[in-house]
Amino acid sequence: MQIRTPEFKESARIALHDVGLQKALGNVKNGFPGKRAAAMARLPEFDALRDQARDVKNHVIAHLDLYLEQFEAKVLENGGHVHWCRTSEDARQTILKICREQNARTVTKGKSMVTEEINLNEFLEQNGIQPIETDLGEYIIQLRGEHPSHIIAPAIHLNLEDVADTFHAHHHTPRSVDPKVLMQEARERLREKFAAADVGITGANFLVAETGSSIIVTNEGNGDLTQILPNTHIVVTSIEKVVPTLEDMTLFLRLLARSATGQECSVYNTLSTGGRRPGDQDGPENFHVVLVDNGRSDMVGNDFQDMLRCIRCAACMNHCPVYGAVGGHSYGWVYPGPMGSVLTPQMIGIEQGALLPNASTFCGKCESVCPVHIPLPKLMRHWREKEFEKHLTPRTARWGLGGWAFMARRPALYRKFSALSNAALRLMAGKKGYIRKIPMVGAWTDWRDMPAPSGKTFMQQWQEKQRSGH
């Protein structure tokens, strides 16, 4: 996927004026947060579970090497294969090799953000293998040649009309705006694909070290059809997804659906462990787990380690006013929203990713809803520190900050400057009490007025009062 993160500001500006997108984004704001809140209210232990989930993840990260080894041993014991991939390229090549061994021509895919991260679809196509997205949202955007704009609701940027047009164009069916009809069309078309695919690729929500199982959490059932019908099932996942036991997985399942869609529980939670067993009449013969690192192991022990706790529930973006304003595509790479603003610079580099961790008011809403208590604002701030250390901060901002910092460390000078600014602002406002336009601060006054100071600075007035003996 082409990295367009450096264009964030321009993309955001366009997104803000995109009427259709803005309507679609209303579905995020008006849907997910309320559902999550209702689900939370039904489970009194929700917050206690969050604390525990954070602690379990921290424990896992502190022993990540050992849990991964244990997971691998269990997969092998159950007749599966594990492939360790340091980079996206390693992962792509590994997957291609497995597909080639199967002489695969088509591959069905369950929803997987890691495969987006490693740009798998494009790569398979270039190598003559057709990837078919089967999650309804993913299917829609694949037809449109787009990428997901949300990690659990990939087509959230589209309206019904868009889907109607897309299906009409690709299915050559009469245009319908009945979601039922549209879904039926997709269902029918994909049935044949499921059955004909040579390889099925899914992601994983968690990997269980105890049993060597991977689990997918879905509502549609496409992930299941993807993995049980072809002869080969490849789980493409990442190293931080491992949890110790089924009981630990349960802890996260209790949080995941509620945080994500506000469901009590997703419809299909499916554990896969190895390939077909003796006597089994269906299911894949071959079971592969592709463990992608792609920068994650670098996060162990660094400032961003907390991010490895992320369970990809999307609560942070569902509640983010910035995401809600500009949508996922503006972020210019795979992961949008607050979690994307932390992960993206790690994966594409701060040089290209710096606009994202800056695009936050630090309102803290994301952290307050994160089921594993990831301090997202703090991590975004860490990226700003890296940016500052590397002298990547834009020059005007740096100079402004430098000048201000010089004074902030010199109280007497600071007072003088405040008094001067105060007087200047009052002068500009005249009698009005506000200012319509201030040169150099257009970013403010283009959109809003600047209230004028109501009088001299507090410090001036206070000192005058003290002198006059109150």
């Binding site: 609701a153 199982s213 349960t250 939670n269 192991s297």
Partner: protein
């Protein structure tokens, strides 16, 4: 090699060597597979547990039909299939199902095989019901092919009342016991019929899996 590199990198991040203590911690945690906090909701006496299961399953849009005896199943199925105009039932091969008298199925046939595209209805047993969320637990084995759980439009499931546990933790323990600690290829936790909200966030039932989930509670 990638594996060594990845693990090496993690170890570097964790500040050095693997200790025996760390190994023991990991081993013990896995062996103990101790429960975490279990919500009070599912920890109930049998009668209330059953009521909770029924409520939660219905909330998930499963259809729930109570029968007194497994022997009543064929007649009940006949009625249900009749109402949907279904004439063929693809069946799992559990003894308890195959040994039933299927003659009440009028002008309909039962077939024992894996499911294929186009099948309209399947019948399986559930290993357990989990009251906490109204969830069915099924697992793959020779008699119970997984395709039956996903391909047909209507999935009929037989669940015995005494197989309803309160919470997931109980389910895992029973599964471990049942399978001798060897995880089956597939374990399915199913809560209601298939659905999607991918078109404009409006929920539609019947995305790729069964459009209907009918639970016969015996």
């Amino acid at each position: 090699m990638s594996k060594a590199e990845i693990l090496g990198n993690i170890r570097r991040g964790l500040g050095g060597k693997i200790t025996d203590e760390a190994r023991a911690t990991v081993k013990n945690r896995i062996q103990a597979h101790a429960p975490n906090l279990i919500p009070a909701r599912g920890q109930l006496p049998a009668a209330e547990r059953l009521a909770l299961f029924i409520n939660m399953a219905r909330e998930s849009a499963a259809e729930l039909i109570e029968l007194n005896d497994l022997a009543d199943l064929p007649a009940a199925l006949d009625q249900h299939m009749q109402s949907l105009g279904i004439t063929e039932l693809i069946m799992a091969q559990d003894k308890c199902l195959t040994s039933l008298d299927w003659s009440p199925l009028q002008n309909k046939q039962t077939t024992q095989r894996v499911s294929q595209v186009g099948d309209l209805a399947s019948l399986t047993t559930a290993f357990l019901g989990i009251a906490e969320t109204g969830t069915l637990m099924l697992y793959s084995r020779a008699e119970s092919p997984t395709t039956l759980n996903f391909l047909p439009d209507t999935h009929y499931v037989v669940l015995r009342r005494e197989d309803i546990v309160g919470v997931y933790e109980d389910a895992w323990n029973q599964l471990r016991e049942e399978t001798g600690g060897q995880m089956p290829r597939t374990v399915n936790l199913i809560t209601g019929p298939s659905r999607s909200a991918d078109i404009e966030q409006t929920l539609q039932m019947g995305a790729h899996g069964p459009r209907q989930l009918v639970i016969y509670l015996i």
